[in-house]
Symmetry: C3
């Protein structure tokens, strides 16, 4: 597909600076885009590349003013990231698995399959499971008894959805995600061994949720572990039994939430952050990467950092002082000496 800068400009509601007739055939990163590609400049860190890139067209902010000459044609837009999203959708094109139902998928006769679904090779759909219309189930996926998969949902190769779990509409679960593994619950016995507590609940994933590769969402002991609509979870995340993740909350890779904790709406959780169990996190909370949250946060829209976490700015101030601690120690000894010498 070839498209002119003028056509793209119209699509993105932007303004052209340069040659409107130049054609592009796909997107590229500003550092290594080739002639005939379109790229973008959103993060000022990358500005230097704008003057050297081989891309034919660059998306820039409405107010971008080059400090040096630029070969490429510019398209100025209000929101660079939103424009890229549109653009990539146009160029990107989803790669679908084979259409239709593989003869090598095993579907229990009591399962119910929606219209226009794809079922890949070596998929297993167990008793009474339901697959919604237009769902795409890639090869080697497992959908257990009574599980429900919503409309338009995509399960990538190797996803395992276990019995009784529910996945909403328009969800995307990446490869090897596990939904519905047992919660981690044991009763200590007198001989120091542990007795397993049966995990009788399920997992409910609402609509428009995305979950990254190799993440695992444990089923509830009783009731449901819940991922609310629009939440986005990255790779290798651990969601324990009876946790609830609020609407439109974003969780970065390798974060972990311990049992029964409730994370509010529109929170932003950094990578490798951890939460203890049985706490409640207010809406709009921001947690810095690698932080450890060990108590309930009641106030909305606060930011946290450290392990255990402190208010974001407090941590930065304490950490700045921590860097100077050896110097502080030295000064203390001097003061002491001066006092002793008086």
């Amino acid at each position: 597909m070839q498209i002119t800068a003028a056509q793209l400009c119209q699509l993105l509601n932007g303004k052209i600076v340069g040659n409107p007739e130049i054609k592009v055939s796909g997107p590229g990163k500003i550092e290594d885009a080739k002639q005939g590609e379109i790229t973008f400049l959103a993060n000022p860190k990358y500005e230097a590349f704008a003057y050297t890139t081989n891309a034919s067209v660059i998306l820039v902010k409405r107010d971008f003013e080059p400090k040096q000459p630029i070969k490429a044609t510019l398209i100025q837009v209000d929101d660079v990231y939103a424009s890229i999203a549109l653009l990539l959708e146009k160029f990107g094109g989803g790669i679908k698995s084979q259409q239709g139902i593989s003869s090598q998928a095993i579907v229990d006769q009591t399962a119910s399959l929606g219209k226009e679904i794809s079922l890949g090779h070596f998929v297993v759909i167990e008793e009474n499971a339901e697959i919604g219309d237009n769902a795409i189930i890639f090869p080697q996926v497992f959908v257990g008894k009574n599980a429900k998969i919503g409309k338009n949902t995509i399960l990538y190769p190797g996803v395992k959805i276990q019995h009784n779990c529910i996945v909403g509409d328009n969800c995307i679960l990446h490869s090897n995600v596990v939904v519905g593994s047992d919660g981690f619950g044991f009763v200590p016995q007198e001989d120091n061994s542990y007795k397993k507590i049966a995990q009788t609940g399920n997992v409910v994933i609402e609509d428009n949720v995305e979950i990254g590769a190799n993440s695992s969402i444990d089923r509830a002991t009783m009731g449901s572990t819940i991922i609310r609509k629009g939440a986005k979870l990255d790779n290798l995340i651990m969601i324990a039994h009876n946790v609830e993740i609020g609407e439109n909350t974003v969780v970065a890779a390798q974060a972990g939430i311990a049992g029964s904790s409730k994370i509010g709406k529109q929170c932003m959780i950094g990578g490798q952050a951890g939460f203890v169990g049985h706490i409640k996190i207010a809406d709009g909370t921001k947690v810095q990467a690698q932080s450890g949250i060990n108590k309930t946060i009641n106030e909305e829209n606060t930011a946290w950092y450290g392990s255990p976490a402190l208010p974001y700015n407090d941590y930065l101030r304490s950490y700045a002082a921590f860097r100077k601690l050896p110097e502080l120690m030295k000064k203390m000894r001097e003061l002491e000496k001066r006092l002793n010498d008086q």
Copy 2:
């Protein structure tokens, strides 16, 4: 199944306060249990819900004294968690995969299969592997050459047990667990590349071990990586080559143990904690979540916190002071000024 409070009370060896004839049909969480359900109160944080829950019956501690009127019938027991465990077993009921051996499982003719086993669709059992009586092997599991799976053991969908590895009786391995991937060992070469050290050992998992979803246990370079009986490992845990995890030790999600370290019996390892290689951890050690253990711990039953970890209370004291560091810095400058002004 409907069961009266009186019947449950007898089962749990408890004492009834309220209506012994009230019937329940399943368990629910205290926050959202419905009429006709039984719930429990173990963690005092949840006490407020006891006065508002719709549950018909609540399990409470023997010495629980309500501070407000309670609608529900109470069953007082010695150990609430143990009673729940019993109860959930009664109500829960395991969901088994299809009984019997799928015609779509591939079993090498030299493999040996125990009695009454289940083998799911698209399972692969390689040469000389052994599957114990009553084992349940869910779909899409791989059991490599010479591997042994014990009696009553459950391997959930997508588990991979590689060649020569041994899993004991009554174990539960959750979806996508990997047992027997190569240990991470390389010899640096003169040209800055690395030469792989062949990993010729195996993994031995003893009886009654549970391992959470997406965890990985590497095989030993020589000898065995060992998970001792009764150990419980949560999701996304990394166990490196030649590690040994002691009897009845519990490891929370996303923790990692580097090569050749030996963790004692009855330890409790918090989530996202890390251990360097080649150290030894005494029995009964407790490690707080996100801590980093970088040396051998010889004394039993100690608790640790921080990265690198300090004795638990020392860390708390130092961290309390860390919070006040900016204030301390300020005070220091004042003292210095006062001395200078003298």
Copy 3:
């Protein structure tokens, strides 16, 4: 296989101290090797075992001088680890999956298969995918459309290589590794929801790379996420979209690299370390386990520790002072009192 100490000595270019005619049949760890086994002493921590081991032969450094009598025959070598690597290769022997192409693998007719490859049961190879000569594809692997797998590369059970991704020659990907899951990119919308940014790039893994079990490498938004030749990644690692890992860089388990960061050559990244996005790390950088790197590192061959990370020795000094903080606080109060009392 039985081999004499003299024969081994010749193979390893070493020097014998003891009985050259003694025979060994396999390797064992120094703590628990049995008679007839060969073991090694490289880490001085294990020296005590040299005097008690039942092994028949011990590999030791050229300059090792026993402090007590040793029963075993010694072979003195220049580089113990290199000698072990050679030795394990000799004894170890790879365990291959079934030879040839399983009748239960599904290969699209447009895919291209090299010579002498192994394709395990329930493998899926999609349209236009290419598998290089001598590649070993274990059961339950998925290779998506247009993906390329190099010569001699091994994909262990459950690996998922998604569309358009490229894996070089002589690579080893352990079980349940995911290559080519979508990068984590969203545009915030006015209603607080997020719109997915299509991820149209791919992953390129160069030659001689090893990736540990359950790790995930996301595809680039545009362009490629790149793992350069000779890099070694351990288990449960997260590599985000558009990241680049340099040649011969080693990354320990559970580390995570956020989007678009570039890690240089010959770096050593500790376990559970984290890197924010959009930074550049110089060649030869060393990062201590659990550290958090939050800015570009320009100088080569530096070492870092802490979260956020400081120069290695600075962190150790500050942390040593952190341990003494409660004492420092007390001393401060004393000084203040003395000043007040003057």
